[in-house]
């Protein structure tokens, strides 16, 4: 029953978008209740669909669109867990926003845009073909652009919105190129009769893609997957297209929580997971200049995880710390797909998606807590905060839970062979599995670099998040601002998310079992590395937790006990500190050098010069123009100003033309 009406998952928020946009002004709280009701509807349908199709069903619906393309719905395990997460988190954030945005006069626009965003994001998830996926993907990008620039009168917000759109656009063009290449390759194998599409199926559907993947030339397939990955790098803020995400914090905090933490930025990871059979089908050895697609995914992810974490250490804007943390955690998800994908096959999708969803809960929670603090303090700067624990207990405690989850705190009883369950936060379960996957990859492939990056990043994660927490909530207040706890409409979503951040991890085994089956249901085989069972030593099993606790202790020592005064150890002129604070000079490189200097000042301006001075000035005006003008001077002498003369000359000319043509073509 729910499966049949699953189109409503997308259509309800679309309807809410239209209504809120036009009627929002007249309704309570800018029409907030419309999107809340619609998204609640989407959540209920998603949940109902899940219950219907669990454990091994799917929903598939498809309608022809244009030129052999289609629009369709595919709800498989991978999609349904995402649908439930996105609609649920979006619902909570919409409720929270009623309080957070209470004093903003542009509420109808806010709620309309977040509602459209939710619709587009849900459409990304349940697309059954790559074109609809891409279209929805672009629409979430549009909503992100609009919401980052929500306060468009702020020049920094307008600039950040533009940067977000353009940087992700680089990835989108790669993604589009991948689709072009895929379409052409499938068409060619159809033309050679090696492959055919059954009636009712369409060329860019995922199932067609997966079937065709085996027949496409391996070099082309690798290229296609890498182009897709290029799109994912842009959307999920992976190196080197990561710079837009921290700038995106110019938008309202609820937007950061919804779009730039829990949902849209994970679309890149989802894309790789969704097209995972193609990644796995690429040749796994580096031969004849063909790179290993999964290896690239793993290294980009691992490097980003580490690279972003270093910048998270020095940021003073509470939201920017969280933004770098998001970039870093998305790196972990990519790392999981790349490393575990190479050795564990389809399990990698489960591992990555589990972290994606756990991260959505605790990162949305972190952002909403940050929003609560910002709402209370009126500033983003953690140097002006401090001592808020007593004044904002709910926010402080829920944020502590989220921080523990991010740091991956827990205890691996079962991992050490004890007959009891592992106990820990959601992040403990999800991140441990990734690090373990990277380790197994290292053992099998003899390449420990991804594992090393993951472990170091875990240490840095724990340090930066507890630096944030200690500086915000403990110690003495560092400014005169008067803080107060946020209203219930804001704190209740915090508590609900905190419960998920604490308990979601326990669903790990069931989650893996369910999501791993995803590609089996689609009759896609994914090779698994066959080898001895993997039993790391206890110290290795404990290592992620050890670095997590170590990070907390370091932060406690520095930022709570003040045992070390960082300003004495590292001067503000320290080159490494400056490098990190200036974000490796990426904003300067992207905006000033590539954007303004190279593109505008050099290429565009020289084009302008060619156009005006050479094509128009030299060729048209001087050479052609002057010649015509001099001819005209000659002719002017013939100008008598008498109409009869003109008429006779015209007739004469016409006669001459006809005679000439007669001579040329002979008798007429």
């Amino acid at each position: 029953m729910f499966g049949e009406i699953s189109a409503l998952i997308v259509l309800l928020p679309v309807l809410a978008f239209v209504l809120t946009l036009f009627l929002g002004k007249k309704l309570y709280s800018g029409g907030a209740l419309l999107p809340i009701a619609a998204i609640a509807g989407s959540f209920i349908i998603s949940l109902g669909t899940f219950l219907e199709i669990y454990p091994d069903g799917m929903v598939q619906q498809s309608w022809p669109w244009f030129a052999g393309m289609n629009i369709g719905i595919l709800i498989d395990p991978l999609a349904v867990v995402m649908l439930m997460m996105v609609s649920f988190v979006s619902l909570l954030i919409h409720i929270y926003a009623v309080g957070y945005m209470a004093h903003d006069p542009a509420k109808p626009r806010y709620f309309a845009e977040t509602s459209l965003f939710t619709a587009a994001m849900l459409s990304v998830i349940l697309s059954d073909n790559i074109l609809q996926f891409f279209i929805s993907w672009e629409l979430v990008g549009l909503c992100s652009f609009l919401l980052i620039g929500f306060w468009y009168h702020k020049p920094s917000a307008a600039a950040a919105a533009k940067k977000a759109f353009l940087v992700t656009r680089v990835g989108d063009v790669l993604f589009l190129a991948g689709i072009v290449l895929l379409y052409v390759n499938i068409s060619e194998i159809i033309a050679t009769r090696a492959f055919s599409i059954e009636p009712g199926n369409f060329i860019l559907q995922f199932k067609t893609m997966f079937e065709a993947a085996k027949l496409i030339d391996p070099t082309q397939l690798t290229l296609i997957t890498l182009l897709f990955f290029g799109g994912a790098v842009g959307k999920s803020g992976q190196f080197p297209l990561h710079g837009w995400l921290p700038d995106a914090m110019e938008g309202p905090t609820t937007v950061s929580a919804l779009i730039h933490a829990a949902t849209m930025v994970t679309a890149g990871v989802y894309l790789v997971a969704r097209t995972f059979p193609m990644f796995v089908a690429t040749p796994a050895t580096i031969s004849a200049g063909v790179p290993d697609a999964l290896l690239i995914v793993a290294y980009v992810g691992g490097f980003t995880a580490l690279f972003a974490a270093t910048m998270g250490l020095v940021m003073n804007d509470i939201k920017r710390v969280l933004a770098y943390s998001t970039v870093s955690q998305l790196g972990y998800m990519m790392l999981a797909l790349g490393t575990a994908g190479a050795v564990l096959g389809a399990k990698a999708v489960g591992i990555s998606m589990f972290h994606l969803i756990a991260h959505a809960f605790f990162k949305a929670l972190l952002f909403l807590c940050a929003g609560s603090v910002i709402h209370a303090m009126g500033t983003n700067d953690i140097r002006e905060m401090g001592g808020l624990f007593g004044k904002m207990k709910i926010t402080a405690i829920t944020m502590l839970i989220a921080a523990l989850a991010l740091a991956g705190i827990g205890f691996p009883f079962a991992g050490l062979g004890m007959p009891i369950l592992n106990i820990g936060t959601a992040g403990f379960f999800s991140k441990d599995a990734i690090i373990e996957g990277a380790l197994e990859y290292g053992e099998v492939k003899g390449d420990m670099i991804p594992y090393g990056m993951a472990i170091i990043a875990a240490l840095l994660t724990s340090i930066y998040i507890f630096r944030l927490w200690f500086m915000t909530f403990t110690g003495k207040p560092r400014s005169e601002r008067h803080a107060h706890e946020s209203p219930g409409v804001m704190t209740r979503p915090l508590m609900i998310l905190a419960i998920f951040a604490l308990l979601f991890g326990f669903s790990q085994a069931g989650f893996y079992g369910y999501v791993e089956k995803n590609f089996e249901l689609m009759n896609v085989e994914i090779a698994v590395h066959e080898g001895e069972a993997f039993h790391p030593s206890p110290i290795i099993v404990m290592l992620p937790v050890i670095v997590g606790v170590l990070g907390i202790l370091i932060s406690y020592a520095i930022y709570n006990r003040r045992m070390l005064d960082m300003s004495k150890i590292i001067s503000s002129g320290n080159p490494i500190y400056k490098l990190l604070l200036n974000r490796y000079y990426e904003p300067k490189l992207a905006a000033d050098i590539i954007g303004v200097k190279l593109t505008h000042d050099v290429v565009a301006q020289s084009g302008e010069f060619i156009d005006r001075k050479i094509i128009d000035g030299l060729v048209i005006d001087n050479i052609i123009g002057k010649t015509v003008f001099q001819l005209g001077e000659l002719v002017r002498k013939l100008q008598t100003g008498v109409v009869q003369n003109y008429a006779s000359v015209t007739l004469l000319g016409l006669g001459l033309l006809i005679i000439l043509l007669k001579i040329r073509f002979g008798g007429i």
Partner: protein, 497 residues
Amino acid sequence: MAALISLMILISLIGAIITFLTRTREQARVVALLASGISFVISLFMFLRFDSSIPTIQFAESYPWIGSLGISLKFGVDGIGMPLVLLSNIVIPLTVIFAWGETKQANQFYGLILLELVGVVGVFTSLDFFVFYIFWEIVLIPMYFLISIWGGPRKDYSAIKFFIYTHVASLVMLLAIFSLYFNAWQISGTPNFDMFYLLKNYSVIESTMLKDAIFLALLFGFLVKMPAVPFHTWLPDAHVEAPTAGSVILAALLLKMGGYGLFRVILPLLPFSGSPGKLVIVMAIIGVLSILYGTFLALAQRDLKKMVAYSSISHMGYVTLGAAAIVPLSISGAMYQQFSHGLITCVLFMSCGVIQHSTGTRVIGNLGGIAKYMPKLTFLMLAGFLASLGLPGMSGFIAEFLVLVNSYFTLPNFVILALFGIVFTAGYHLWAMQRAMFGTYNEKLGHIHDGANYEMFSMAVIILLVIYFGLNPNPVLTMMTTNSEQLYTVLKGVVIP
């Protein structure tokens, strides 16, 4: 049923004459709206009655005219012409509504707009090459006056440049038409200006040189009109000085005549020209050059309207590229790009017009933060800009997607180059929006007001159409594809080196 096309042309023509004769601007605009509105209803009726499954000419009419020279009044539409007839009839009434507040010599102003409708519908429906050429030239004259009377400070220079440039191109084209005509006359012994007849007889010309000369002359005539780089420099000047209504018609309809020529004349001749493979490469180079060059030039502009003008060059490059790729769906995509760009560009030029009217300037650097006082305009303009940069869900995406995907079969390297331009296309659109509309309000602009309701209405209608045709391209795309598949039956023999 019969004679719908000539009825449409006659109504616009009579409407234009009556408009010229009216005494007040109120009368003039009502008559203009009425005439173009009736014309729109006829075109919509035709569109709905059109059979998309056959590639033949529909609503055909034929009247003898100058029998001794084989000239007759033949009209009709197929999947190539029908969408453009509809487009013309959508754009002209909305332009009249947009320009509802015109005060200067209003009767002539609205009359000239209606004459443009006569001209473009004539071009898109004429099946007699001589009559086609007459309409082709008719289009120039009202535009010349629209620029030279209602234009900006350098209107005389621009109007003359526009006229001479496109007129020279027309004359070159005329020579080619005459060559086709006399050639066919020589073979059959009877004069006949029928367009399909002349095109069919192209293949029997013996001299390869003459064939190439005719082909290149026709191609030149159409490429100047589109305009394609490097024959484009008349366009930015014409737009900068033209009144908003003139710019809208110029970009939305007049440029489409060039693209129409590619499908109607150039592609059927291509397989029989002396060296089709090389000519395809020439067209592909011109197409991609236009895309990239237009994009980078748009990026360099300080004047918002000039930026939009260069964006037209870039978008029309897709038409040339898609036509050059000679794959059925790339040709359909190119046709769809014509239709789509015709709609989208209206919103862009209308936005420029509203901004200039309200603030007195179009220089991007002198604007800033005007979204604060012009929220309605900003909303519609942003929608238009997003459509123009190829946002999915809007018509431009469908067109560009079809062109890029299908051109890759025959011209992969050119497609890669074109893809490269997409980021920069987004770049200049958003950069202009950011600096002109967003950020802190530039207090030097003083008190400004939002666009008038009739202006906002026209823009909103077009945005809705852009979204509709972005979500449901089939009503237009199906008839285009029927004809592009028919074109392909002769084009598939062409080998691209």
